[in-house]
């Protein structure tokens, strides 16, 4: 299963599952929920945080958190 951490700059995907209990509730409350589209805007160097856009919410999250968010890449 792919996660947000696998995505590259400019990639888009659909969030599948966020049930890992280490995902902060705050992230879900900010819109990171199954079915929503996620877009990678920018990656910080040295495996730093990811700058993402979920349904108009622009957020920065760390790689460790990104690894817990399961995604599905829509076929073109």
């Amino acid at each position: 299963m792919q996660t947000v951490a696998d995505l590259k700059k400019g990639d888009k995907a659909i969030i599948k599952d966020v049930s890992d209990s280490s995902i902060p509730i705050k992230l879900l409350e900010m819109g990171c929920l199954p079915g929503n589209e996620i877009e990678i805007i920018q990656l910080a160097p040295f495996l730093g945080p990811m700058y993402i856009n979920i349904n108009g919410s622009h957020l920065a999250i760390r790689k460790e958190t990104a690894k817990l968010i399961l995604i599905e890449i829509p076929k073109l």
Binding site: V18, S19, S21, S22, I23, P24, I25, K26, L27, L28, E29, M30, G31, L33, P34, I41, Q42, A44, P45, F46, L47, G48, P49, Y51, N55, G56, S57, H58, L59, A60, I61, R62, T65
Partner: protein
Amino acid sequence: MSKQIKVALIGNPNTGKTSIFNSLTGLNQKIANYPGVTVDKKEGICKLDRGVKAHIYDLPGTYSLNASSMDENIVVELLLNKNNKDFPDLAIIVSDVENLKRNLVLFTQVKDLKIPTILAVNMSDRMKYKGIELDIPILEKSLDTKIILTTNRSSDWTDKLKNIISNYTELSSTNFMNLDIIDSNYFQNLQKTFPNQELYKLWVVICQDANFTNIDKKFLESKNFETKTLSELKRLQQKETIKRYQLINNILRTGQKIDQSKAVGFGASLDKLLTHKVFGYFIFFLILLGIFQVIYEWATVPMDFIDASFAQMAEWVKINLPNGAMTNLLADGIITGIGGIVIFIPQIAFLFMFISILEESGYMSRVVFLMDKIMQKFGLSGKSVVPLISGVACAIPAIMATRNIESWKERLITILVTPFMTCAARLPVYLIIVALVIPDETIFGFNYQAIALMSLYIIGFLAAVGSAYILNSVLNIRSRSVLVMEMPNYKIPLIKDVLYTIVEKTKTFIVEAGKIILAISVILWFLATNGIGDRFDNPQDYVTQDIELISENDLQSEIASIKLENSFIGNIGKTIEPIFKPLGYDWKIGIGLITSFAAREVFVGTLAVIYNVESYNDSEEKRLELKKIMLRETDANGNKIFTLASGISLLLFYAFAMQCMSTLAIVRTETNSWKWPALQFIIMTLIAYIVSLIAYQILS
């Protein structure tokens, strides 16, 4: 008697909540979501019809009632505790029209606490640019609330909002969501066990890490209520959030229309540059350089002016008031003491101006994004960057700026290492000692003195990150470190907002630091002007030089010097001299060090008192005079006191030592314990002592 209505202003960060506050109260204060600005509950009064007054509380921005940082705790604490004297009669939820869906999550949570709630949809002037249409009557009905469209551009809406506030008893206080839809068994049980409590309130308490005043975890456990494991609770919370979004989506499907084609995003290209792997850092570096340049170059003009004014004022008092202890206390103790505080206003004001601009524009979040990984290597968070930068001006506001760091461990480490950064108060000390012991010559076109000064800044920074690294491995605190940060849209900062930040922050600094500096100045003055024994009472009898041969001025100097040596402070200095001897300092420097434990900047003033430069002020002329006297100083064997060895040793002592009572006081408040400021004080002073000892012993 006039009635008072208490109103809590709640909303996500970046929704322009503070502007609503300003429009209602006329008092302008601010809260921004981002690093650098201390967040606290702010209060203002709004006059309604018929002599009714509304007390408006501007609460820190929060995304939900699941608090994850100290600012957010403030909000939850107020809303949960009905016995709190500030418990609101109603809440206004401020939301951003462009992010209505996300903002409504918080709205529904507050509503579930059964607090009467008004929804203010802010930045409504942007609706037409973004292609957003709202059906207010439908939304009001389905959300069971009053809705008001607000904007920061005009204040036509204020009367309407005031009217709704006046009639707040008509507002619905029914909850939004039935918690049974999450897990009917669990929530029915919960309600049965605590029939007198509101269900959602119980649930919020169960989900929080922190305990809140009137019902806490212990109380819940005492009733033998079935407890869930942490991950079970998490699952329920996730379910809750999903349910909330489902309900909100259903409502917005009928109440909101968005024409996607009109939604244009600018700022995307700016982001490409500002968060770029190479240019992003380069731009950040340039901005920092610019800020330092301004703080040191521009601030010197008003600083010199303030200094001269206070010296003149002290002089004026001495000339125009009758001679006596009170006049001396006023002139040398109080006026000089206040001057020592006021002198920092320009630098602090400039610093806050820049931080406020970086913040308001949305740039600060980009810096956090860029620096997070690097800072993590040292046990810090990306959000620690802001306190560390602010620390170059003053550790006090810097430490207050750590409040939005979610992880307690990262926050604590940031608080503990920030005082290593070279603050403005060290500068006067550095300047005089560097001028004294470092030759004014150049090597490859670089001035030795400039290199020395810059090295001191670098040493401070290295000490901060180095000790963070050590603390990270030593401190045994389990605290999960996460970063979930909104990257707000770029905005041009409002001049008004920036100005208010400057005024408010500067005022806080003056009051907080001022109290301590003032107290110390008065104590120091007392100890230096009082003493016991004949040598203090009749110093003229102990002048060693031939009275006939020296001038009246020199005689007075000599007498003052003997008096000081035998004053209380002189005796203290002599007693502690053995401690400082190995570092190359005599008793006079020792006193300077002791007094600067209150505040570093006191050092120069103390030396001026000790070497009795008459009416010392920071002017070029007086500085030269002090320098000359200091250069002449010798010990009993005729050896110079200020040599390269003792000078470097002294510089290093100031670089590392924790010499600022105000900072310790702030650390005490922010960590809520004496343990951390005590440890910080002991360890920093030890490091300072050892490093200076080694430096002196090697160099001499």
